[in-house]
Each structure stands twice: as structure tokens, then as C-alpha cells.
């Protein structure tokens, strides 16, 4: 379901045609991918499900677990980590909204306004993608330096008395959401750019011919036609942002007060060695994203578009 959504969900008619054209060659072409998925997705998923129901070996060492059916693991992790779960979704939603607000205008300018200047357009795209050339760990550390207590930003804000003298930015929800927004901005802007770049401007012309002001044309024509890009962009931002554990980590832009689900899962797997709890949390994260995304894709009705 979620994978289909990235492709903009092919209309039912096309799927039927594909099914009719099914041939041995298509199966052979699918085989490598299927094998890969079975080996590296389905098998680990099963292992994860089994682990999530395990219980500690009585009298065993830390990190020793045996197979069991212990659903209370789920109740326990939800009880313990509910704030982190909620925080994950709140931070990810905020980052998605901010990335959309920042990314859409960028994509619009590059995809529509810069069309007459192909060279400038290409250059703008390169600038948009440029951050990918640097490791995201390095980029996040760089932001940590910029937001540091002795850094330029905090110093300037203090000297202008916008924030009190004892204030700080690192380790706050602000810096975590900022980091998430920054990290996933290109994932938001690029799919929107792709749909806007293909937008037939004759629709815009027709809109203004039919008495719509530029803003109304945008609201009723341009934006609805770019919805497939908006949907893929928000999914590409929201899903990884929910599970992100770099920005919210104490070592980067976060603190213990900003820990998200990813950080909790990391701590349970690597530090506390509470594998069943980590597995249960991973599955809860996965299922909730799946439910949210399905509802979102269904509601946005992208099936109708194109």
C-alpha cells in the first residue's frame, strides 16, 4: 500500500491491462526483486514479530530471551514510551508542514517561473540537491555548531534581546524540528517540482480567462494538479521523519527531553538490550505509519488524479 502510494497509485484500468499482459518474461524480471525482498524484508520482519513476543530466560543473563507468546510486551512499551510515541508523530507532522510551506514555493519557482530559463532552472535544481553531496551526519553536526550556546545564532538573538540571556537552542524541540525540516526539505520539494514542471500552463491561462484571479487560479487549478507531488513529498518526509533518531539524539540536536521513537528503539536494542521491547516498538511504529499513510492516501484521493 505504502509502496504503491509513492508511484502515485496507478488507475485500476491500467492494473487490469498489466495483469492481462502478464507473461513468463515479466515473472522472470520480478524474480530478483522478489528474492531480495523475501531475504531482506520478509524474513527480518518475521524475526522482528517473533522477538517482540519473547520473554527473558528465567535466571539468565541480561539480553537472554526465549521464544514465548508474551503480548504484555506491547502494553508495557506503550505504557512506558507513550510520550515518545506521541512526540515522534508531533515532530514529524510539524517538520512535514514546515517542509511543505518552504518546499512548495521553491518547487513552484523552479518548476514554473524558471521554465523560460533552462540554465537557471538546472542550476537551481543542483543547489536544491547539493546538500546530498555531504553526509547528513556532518550536516547535522554543523547545525549543532551553528545553534551552539556560544554560536553565532544564539549570540545574535541574545544581543538583540529576542531570547533571554540564559536561553539555549540545542536540545530543544525547536532545533529537532528544525533539523528534521532541513533534512527532508529536498524530499518534499523534488516530487512537487516534478509535477509542477509538467503542469500545462494552458490550464492556468484558461483559469484566468474564466475570471479567476491569480490566487484563485492557484487554489483551484495549480495546487490540485500538483497534489500527486504534494502527496509523495509529504509521505517521503513524514515516514522517515517519524522514525528519525539522528536529529533528536542527544549527540546531535536533541536531548533526553526530545527523544523520539527511533531513539528509544536504539536505546533498547543497543544499550538496555531489551530486544522484545525494541521489536514491539518498531512494529508499533510501522503499523501506526501504515494506518496513518493509508488513511491519508485514501483521503487525498490521488487515485482520481491522472
Amino acid at each position: 500500500m505504502a509502496f504503491g502510494a509513492f508511484g502515485g497509485a496507478a488507475p485500476a484500468a491500467d492494473q487490469q491491462q498489466v495483469a492481462q499482459r502478464k507473461s513468463p518474461i515479466a515473472l522472470w524480471l520480478l524474480l530478483p526483486g522478489l528474492l531480495y525482498l523475501i531475504l531482506f524484508f520478509v524474513t527480518p520482519l518475521f524475526s522482528l514479530v517473533i522477538t517482540s513476543f519473547q520473554e527473558p530466560v528465567p535466571g539468565g543473563f541480561l539480553g537472554e530471551y526465549q521464544n514465548a507468546f508474551n503480548p504484555s510486551n506491547y502494553v508495557e512499551v506503550v505504557g512506558t514510551y507513550l510520550p515518545h510515541i506521541l512526540r515522534s508523530f508531533v515532530y514529524a507532522s510539524m517538520a512535514t508542514v514546515f517542509a511543505l510551506l518552504l518546499g512548495y514555493p521553491v518547487a513552484y519557482v523552479i518548476g514554473v517561473k524558471l521554465r523560460p530559463y533552462p540554465l537557471v532552472q538546472a542550476l537551481a535544481l543542483v543547489i536544491l540537491i547539493a546538500p546530498f553531496f555531504i553526509s547528513f551526519l556532518l550536516r547535522t553536526i554543523a547545525w549543532k555548531q551553528i545553534f551552539a550556546d556560544e554560536g553565532v545564532v544564539v549570540g545574535l538573538l541574545k544581543s538583540m534581546q529576542i531570547i533571554p540571556a540564559d536561553a539555549y537552542l540545542t536540545g530543544t524541540p525547536f532545533s529537532v524540528v528544525f533539523g528534521l525540516t532541513y533534512m527532508f526539505l529536498p524530499f518534499m520539494a523534488l516530487p512537487i517540482y516534478t509535477t509542477l514542471e509538467k503542469l500545462d500552463l494552458r490550464y492556468v491561462e484558461a483559469g484566468s480567462d474564466l475570471y479567476a484571479s491569480p490566487f484563485t487560479v492557484f487554489r483551484t487549478v495549480t495546487f490540485p494538479l500538483s497534489l500527486p507531488g504534494v502527496v509523495s513529498g509529504t509521505l517521503l518526509t513524514f515516514i522517515p521523519a517519524t522514525g528519525d533518531y539522528i536529529n533528536a539524539s542527544r549527540d546531535f540536536l536533541g536531548s533526553t527531553d526530545t527523544a523520539m521513537m527511533g531513539n528509544v528503539i536504539e536505546a533498547n536494542f543497543l544499550v538496555l538490550q531489551n530486544f522484545p521491547a525494541a521489536a514491539a516498538l518498531s512494529l508499533i511504529l510501522m503499523m501506526s505509519i501504515l494506518v496513518l499513510v493509508s488513511a491519508y492516501v485514501k483521503r487525498s484521493g490521488t487515485d482520481d488524479l491522472l
Binding site: 474564466l210 479567476a212 497534489l227
Partner: protein, 330 residues
């Protein structure tokens, strides 16, 4: 200027004008009905839905109101585009080659339908087309434009029967044009010397009355004679010439006759009798009634035929030639 108001400075969305685009430009994400309602909604007009339904009924597409434009055929999309513009009752409806994408049969059908709808709603339609026949079939007034300027404007019959410029004479239908000089004129006719013959043109059908002029006559007005016809002051006669080509097209036979001094003359002979017909190689005389001749002040430029190619490649070549000529002249 529409209704006495200069609209040059108003924005496109504030003008009482609607357009039927060549590509239709129907909004693909809206239903047919929403497309038609778009303009009414923007102007906050009451019972937009009802008006839109009526407009769709007018183009006989009421039954597809809830479909998406992509589910309609080209002709149906064209009619939706028409309804979407018409429903606003604009002061002026622009039709920008709206039938260009349709096949010939559908185009003929749509021409008649648009004409019916036009007389039904009584709005002013401004129809841009490259199809001369379409212009003549549909319009009350035709303006022939060349290089961005109006060459001649008037009812189709007037433009066809008495063209005022060589461009109009050759663009709307075919014409035989002979260049010559006025030798004498009376109150009613001028006489033009062409290759040793005197051709007469009624004064009121001639643009210029002295000096170098062009005498024109439409191919279907020219009669073919096996022998030289008796001299008659009411008929222009040229010949003898040789038939270069005779092609039978059903309703008529088209002859191409080479007359020394006059060049190649086209003749359309109505296929009304079984009698003898001229064949290739025959020597024939040509005549026409003087009242069918028209006089022009200009000749079509000799190498004019492909100048109107508006593909970007051709325009680039033309621009380059122009610049090269300028450079040589300087």
C-alpha cells in the same frame, strides 16, 4: 474596445471575454460540470449549477456532466470547452482554431453546430482559423489577415467575388491573375492591356483605375471553347492555349491551360453535360463574362508560396535571410 470600453490595460481575468482554446484546456481534475461552472463560480453567480446544466444541454452533453474530461472524445471535449465559455455569456467569445484537432467529418459537423449555437445565443463570436472554407461557411464577416494586418474585411461572398488584394484573391479560393496596364477607361469599364489583348474590368470592381493593375478571374467563371468564340464586348477572351492537364474531380473538371503571355490559367468546368471535353494537348480558347473580372492594384509576390510557413525552423531561416540581405545592403 468592447462595448465602448478600452480593455488594453485590464487584466485577462477582468475582461468580459471568454476563449475556446485550440487545445480545449479543460481542467483534468474537475468533472465536466465543474469545468462548465468554473467561470460562474468565480463571479459568484447564483444557481451556477442550473446554468451549467443548461449550457451542457445546449451542446447536447447533459448526460456526461459527471465524467472527467479525459473520458470524453475529442469532439465532446470541444463542445464542453464551448459550453464552458458560452455559459458566461461573454460580450465576445474568442474561438482560437477550436476545430483544428478534429478530423474533417467531425469538423464540418461542429462548424454547423457552432453556427446554430451562435444564432441561438446571439453572442458575438470571433473565430480564428486557417481553414478558408471554415471561415466562409461559418462567418457573417470575414477578416483576412496577412503578416498581422487585415487585408480585407467583409461578408464571405464579397471577399470571394470581389477581392481587393492579390493575397485575398489567392488565399480565399483560387484566382487567375494577369498583370497589365490600363490603356483606356470609360464610365463603366477600364481596359487593361495584357500580352497584346485588351481585358475589360467593371470600374466598380477595380481597385485602381490607371497605371499597372492586375486583372483577376475565378477559375469557375472561365469557360472553355474548342474554337475562337465570336467577339463580344461583354466577354473577355484569351487564347489560343494548350491544355496541360485535365483532372476529373466528380462535380467538375479542373483544367490547367497554358496561354502564351498569360501563363498557366486554371479553369473549373462544371460537369453538367456529357458532351465533349477537352483533353490534354488540345488547343482551346478561354472566355469569361466581363462582370466577373476584378481589378487589383498589386500582384502576388512571385516566390510567395511558402513564406507563410510559420514553423520555427522556417521563421529562423527567413529571419537569417533578412539579416543577411540587410548586411549586404549596408
Amino acid at each position: 474596445m468592447i462595448g465602448g470600453k478600452d480593455l488594453t490595460d485590464t487584466k485577462a481575468y477582468q475582461r468580459p471575454v471568454n476563449t475556446v482554446f485550440q487545445s480545449y484546456a479543460l481542467f483534468p481534475h474537475m468533472s465536466v460540470l465543474d469545468n462548465v461552472m468554473f467561470g460562474l463560480r468565480r463571479r459568484k453567480i447564483a444557481d451556477a449549477g442550473q446554468k451549467a446544466k443548461e449550457a451542457l444541454d445546449l451542446v447536447e452533453l447533459g448526460h456526461v456532466a459527471n465524467r472527467k474530461p479525459a473520458q470524453l472524445s475529442g469532439g465532446q471535449q470541444q463542445r464542453v470547452a464551448l459550453a464552458r465559455a458560452l455559459v458566461n455569456r461573454p460580450a465576445l467569445l474568442l474561438l482560437d482554431e477550436p476545430l483544428g484537432a478534429l478530423d474533417l467529418k467531425l469538423r464540418r459537423q461542429m462548424q454547423l453546430e457552432i453556427k446554430d449555437i451562435q444564432s441561438e445565443v446571439g453572442l458575438t463570436f470571433l473565430h480564428v482559423t486557417h481553414d478558408q472554407e471554415e471561415a466562409m461557411t461559418m462567418a457573417d464577416t470575414v477578416a483576412v489577415m496577412n503578416q498581422g494586418k487585415i487585408e480585407q474585411m467583409g461578408p464571405p461572398e464579397e471577399l470571394y467575388e470581389s477581392p481587393k488584394t492579390a493575397f485575398v484573391a489567392t488565399f480565399l479560393g483560387q484566382s487567375n491573375l494577369f498583370g497589365g496596364e490600363v490603356v483606356s477607361s470609360t464610365k463603366d469599364v477600364i481596359s487593361v492591356a495584357v500580352a497584346g489583348k485588351e481585358l475589360r474590368v467593371p470600374v466598380d470592381r477595380a481597385v485602381a483605375h490607371r497605371g499597372k493593375v492586375t486583372v483577376g478571374v475565378r477559375p469557375e467563371k472561365v469557360s472553355l471553347h474548342q474554337a475562337e468564340p465570336a467577339t463580344d464586348s461583354s466577354r473577355g477572351v484569351i487564347g489560343p492555349g494548350r491544355v496541360l492537364d485535365a483532372s476529373f474531380t466528380g462535380v467538375s473538371t479542373q483544367y490547367l491551360v497554358d496561354v502564351p503571355g498569360f501563363g498557366e490559367v486554371t479553369v473549373f468546368a462544371q460537369n453538367t453535360s456529357h458532351g465533349e471535353h477537352a483533353v490534354e494537348g488540345d488547343e482551346v480558347f478561354l472566355s469569361w463574362s466581363v462582370e466577373h473580372a476584378f481589378g487589383l492594384a498589386d500582384m502576388p509576390p512571385a516566390e510567395d508560396r511558402f513564406l507563410n510557413d510559420t514553423s520555427t525552423g522556417a521563421m529562423a531561416v527567413q529571419e537569417r535571410e533578412k539579416i543577411e540581405q540587410e548586411l549586404e545592403g549596408a
